[in-house]
Symmetry: D4
Subunit: 242 residues, 8 copies
């Protein structure tokens, strides 16, 4: 644009107006946006909760028009999935409440993202995490129902823990698994408290506080039941840039 | 007394008056009190916090006059202990903030009370528990600084865990040790959350909630930093009556 | 296996591989597991909440194949019980939401587990506790609706309180019963706060905090509404090992 | 004033201006104020916390100039009391942190205000309540250290409980005393949670919640440590007007 | 009984046995019970929530057999009321969710119980309080929708406030009405926080805390939405005994 | 700059570089900054808590060098003020913990900012607000100690309430004053909860929640004890721009 | 009335009686009420939640009889709107759950009220705010879905932010938008936390706390989801009186 | 060892005994420990809070004897540092409360760890993070006092944000900086809430909740004020292994 100004093809006034109109995109944010394009390039995400199937279809179609190959819809109920599936080629992953449109990319991360849960009730959150990680190009290994009350089950998977590039630990109730895994692993651990439990679990608060106070180093925490967020963070780590 | 009434040595009016005066002791509570005597017989306890050394000396002397051989003073600061020690033969246990007057009894419990802590900062609470248990006639074994972030330290003590009659688990921060020990042990586990930690430990709340939500069976919980209460409960278990 | 190695029947490499494959079971954890077998031997437990009847049937059948005689299903709704009952010989205890498969064992504990509730609304939690204790081989005595607002009702049962081996106190609202029973009894008291109440009971929080702060010694606490956990702990106490 | 208007001695404009100037006192609030005078007539109260001794002396002297015979200063530290006592005839009640200037009035209430505490640590709050009640013209009976863990101590005072006109129950920790007394008494019970306790007492929150959830009828609650407020309410009840 | 012993009509052994069998009723608790009979004599109360209509009918019929003339059923839904009304002469007060069996007694209290609400949404709690007070023999005056945001509405009722014997203030949201009424009245004020509100009212917690911190003297508080408890307390005050 | 490009005085490359170097200031943020200059022009503010007197002096001198005439230092202790006053011409307002360097500007707001407190303990927060408002060019009127328990004191100031342009209500304990003033006023009301109180005031939480739930329209809330923030907001309202 | 007294048409006694009967309205409150009339004159508001359609119709008709031209019904469900719409000329704004009866007034405020949301899920609260502001005579500009995670979207609207007279920022989750807008704008910002989010958002608590702690000056906060309250406050600011 | 068995140099019994004695180290945990050695190899860490200078010196000397070259002491007060510095070559970093013994290693991470703070009060936590990261072999870049209320300061550092390998965001009060940075960056962001703030910041809770609810992807959270934990996690990411 500056060249147009230099060449006289664009008046100064018009240039100022354009700069004002999109001040950030033209200069600083263009770089942000292209960065984000790289980051999000593999897949775009629609948060399905609180949207009607019609809204989701409309958004997804717009994304496809823009050339987006893979789309992930999170927090998607079977009922909504049925409606959407009638209009778009939807691969619905019931366990994690996820809808996938398009192909899963080839894994291109540094290593393996390990997803461990304390109990079977934590599996929906774990699947949200695991499939999300796959969508973003990660090889994923699942170890479910390996809570600390049966330590031998966890220790039986010690090879996976020690060879993982990043670990997502998913646990409700007292959330102790994060500390135990954090003590065994030598890679970053992302802990996801779940709302599994009753009474004094206070909807996941007990697990959340426990994980934040983990005595093991190298553990960070995301919101309760936020499998997606943990996987997104894990994927960034597994694709870490120099 | 009824015999006195029958024999005429006591008027009905006087008998009614006496019964009113101490209605519970004469009938139901006498048994309660003798029961309690058995329970408390070995040692009586003075809660030292919020009492002056003079008050503590006065109470202790009254107990000794009644024939009490062993007296335990909890939450006792070194300063108060120094004053009391000038007037009474006090054995001050600085680590647990406990003062002992009289001999420790021979252990007469069923087995061993195992006291485990997650960290070194939990030791004051642990010593409060351990010495209390000893005062009430229990053999005590201590395993300190065996938190879950270094699982091999804990597992190195697996024999003690598996042979204990009752275990007191003491941990601050995320309190995960209670669940791990609860999963390994086959005896009752009493968990004591401690106020060790900062930030989102909220003065022991994180550990308390974690312990209440323990996924391991056989774990019950006492108040934050309540080493005495855990030991008292443990002693009742170790002296369980048929 | 070491003998096989010594005898040459097993190569060193193969032995290492086997040890790695099940490192904990072969050595340390085998003992844990046999301990646990003893502990859990009488009955195995399925947590029914969040499982489909089909899942429960499948798990129960696998347990029966392994030779398990008695199976306890907790948090089981009447609807699920009806489905399961069509496929397995289920004894459904509606009051406590429990399903029992197989015979109740003969009581083999030291003494009596006393279950006391403050109100009639606490009975479902109490029955979860009482039947669980029975399943694990305990003689159980029930005293329901003996809250502290009508102290004479409670005191009318003072003989049961004073002769029990372990007491489970179940109360919602202000949870005061735990302290009063704790003051009368000379055995371990396990307090179960319930979510009975409204407003500032905050789903059982008021009772939970009250019980944790009990001025009576010998009281420990489990999670809100956790009748099963209290009974499990009580059974360990009533079968305390030397 | 209206007569002055009628008689012409006051212009309508002037009357309106006067009415505007003190609209509430002249008409409605005059009655409020004379009511309050009756209510507060016996004694006026200075909240001592956060005021300097000089400020307190100044306020007290102004009250005395207005003809106030008895003045109560609450939350008064010994240090401040010493300063004030050098300038005014102060009767300092150290146990309750109260300063009294002037005579205590003759009791003129309907019956007796009974003040019961659970422990000895609750006595400062109890004395704040007891002396306040005396200042407001009530006969007061004190029963201290009668917590529910030693039920016989409480029941030994059952005659006082049953003959009181209003009872103030003061307890920290789990606050169970309010429910037990509420179940025994047939008069209004005002419960005062205290900040006595540690850990999960959360500065009196546990006792507060317990008292609000009391299963006994006829129990209402004031703020944590608010002995003054309970006594003020009790005095209103003991001087109830038709 | 003692006279029987004195006269020889009863052996000492038999007397001891009887005393043991009902130790509390014969001596101390008999008086408690007769006291309670006086207190509760006018009406007995069934807490309707969590009971089936059949259970309520059964309890009510047993009470009627014992000679109880007036029965109050609280927290009674219209559906349950319809069923009960088919079997018993039930006067259902829909606004307060109360069922009345039998006649309302003539008011015999000292003065008037004034029930004030801040808004129209507080009326269900207010009616629970008002009808309860009537059932227990109190003259009741209702002032509804007089919140502090429209102060003139409240002040228009200042005569009622100043002539009441006891006032029940019912308010949700910020609960400010309790302080304003407490400042105007010269009689005891019982504050009932309600769960009316949203967001940061946290189910009545905001109003509860505000009322506990009231700057006005003479205000005590009951549980959130506890209209019954406030009325019961108010009735005790309005029938205060010397 | 674009004209320089057009005229050839600046190469395109150099222009891009400059734009990149300060992308936000040149285009969008320049306006933000000049806006902010207008907003903050009258006075700049130093948050004094957690800074040493030396740091404060250094910052203030830099501001003065930039030509700033009036500087406000908040949360300033008397000790720090003494040190600073030795180096700079400091006008220290002890009541509000504020230091002023330079002249107070002439008031140039639309009308009057009224500052009302419930009690005398709220005055430090009120003075922080009042002096801040004066520094930002507002006429301020103070009405202190006008809490709702003495409604006539508040109503005596009704003229001020009704003629104010914006009102800052400052109250601790139950915070009811905000609702009452909000109901009387017809201008924006900014409520400041204070940490004045004890027990269940939880450091100002009770007042904060009450104010957020105010039943009166036109009330918004700032952080606990944030007199500065309320005054800043009030000044923006009193200088509202078209 | 005073003139009637002066003229003899009204006796002094009768005048006193009238003044007592309506003491506040005749003198002080008349002014309050006429003030309020001005304030509320444009529109009256019915809070629709918890009212039946019949009740709403009745209230609205009474308002119309009094001459009210515009009526706003908030928190109105589509079902209720359908019923009301059958009886009254209702303009139902589904997005904000608002019903409007009568014409929207011409905007007469000082400038523009800008309503910004962080996400699309915040739109219902935003529409409640926006339509309310319109009803009260304000020009409104909407900028939706401009959360801080996509800063360029927000900055693209910087002209609107800098030219607004008052801004309403609506955000759930972490509520960061309020601080960012507060840092950019030079007008008052009213922040509305929403209950959008899950897990540790605790129903809007996270956003509420964040907004109260905003590091940007000039931000005040209303209750969670309280779009109406924010708009009412904004309208007062936009119509600020001298 | 197996080879010894095979060769006959070790009896089977002795082998079993050895395996039992150190069951975990020989098999599974040996690998854990060597892993950990790699992980911790660069530096060992002593948590200084709650340890005496003498204890710290003793631990540090033992580490040095084991050959540890670099030792980090966290949460170290100047007083303790002075004592330790008298006995060991301590490099005390006052800003972050850190003591370093030995050389800082050459950075060997993938890229740059960027440490950003919202305010100057967050610097102590930031320095704890920054120096910790340096100790563990990371190149660190600091951007301090770049809070969202002055967005241009943050955006002036956009190049650093976009080129970082991992970012640590440190903010108190409302913690909004985490979301804004999370929206700009395309690398993992670790958020550290600080206890900076007052009132409704509740010791860092407001910032903690905000960060957990961040609308930006790729943000995980550690405990309040846990600069060390964030840096440890960041270092693991910056040294991520395949």
């Amino acid at each position: 644009m500056l060249e147009q100004v230099q060449g006289g093809a664009l008046s100064v006034d018009e240039a100022v107006k354009r700069l004002r109109a999109e001040p950030f995109e033209d200069i600083g944010f263009a770089r942000v946006d292209s960065h984000r394009a790289i980051r999000n390039g593999i897949a775009e995400v629609i948060y399905g909760a609180g949207k009607t199937p019609e809204q989701i279809v409309a958004i997804a179609e717009k994304m496809r028009e823009r050339g987006q190959k893979t789309i992930l819809i999170t927090r998607l109920s079977p009922e909504k999935a049925a409606v959407i599936g009638g209009q778009l080629p939807l691969d619905y992953r019931k366990d994690g409440g996820l809808g996938v449109i398009g192909e899963l990319p080839e894994p291109d991360g540094i290593g393996v993202v390990l997803v461990i849960t304390a109990g079977t009730s934590d599996i929906p959150v774990a699947e949200e995490a695991a499939v999300t990680a796959e969508i973003f190009g990660n090889r994923v290994k699942r170890v479910y129902d390996a809570g600390v009350a049966g330590l031998h089950r966890l220790l039986a998977n010690i090879d996976d823990i020690m060879s993982a590039t990043v670990i997502i630990v998913i646990a409700g109730m007292e959330g102790a698994l994060a500390s135990v895994v954090g003590g065994l692993a030598d890679c970053p651990v992302i802990a996801v408290p779940t709302s599994v439990g009753y009474g004094a679990s206070f909807g996941g608060l007990a697990a959340l506080l426990a994980m934040l106070n983990s005595c093991a180093g190298g553990v960070s925490v995301v919101n309760i039941d936020n499998g997606f967020g943990a996987a997104y963070q894990a994927s960034l780590i597994n694709h870490v840039k120099s």
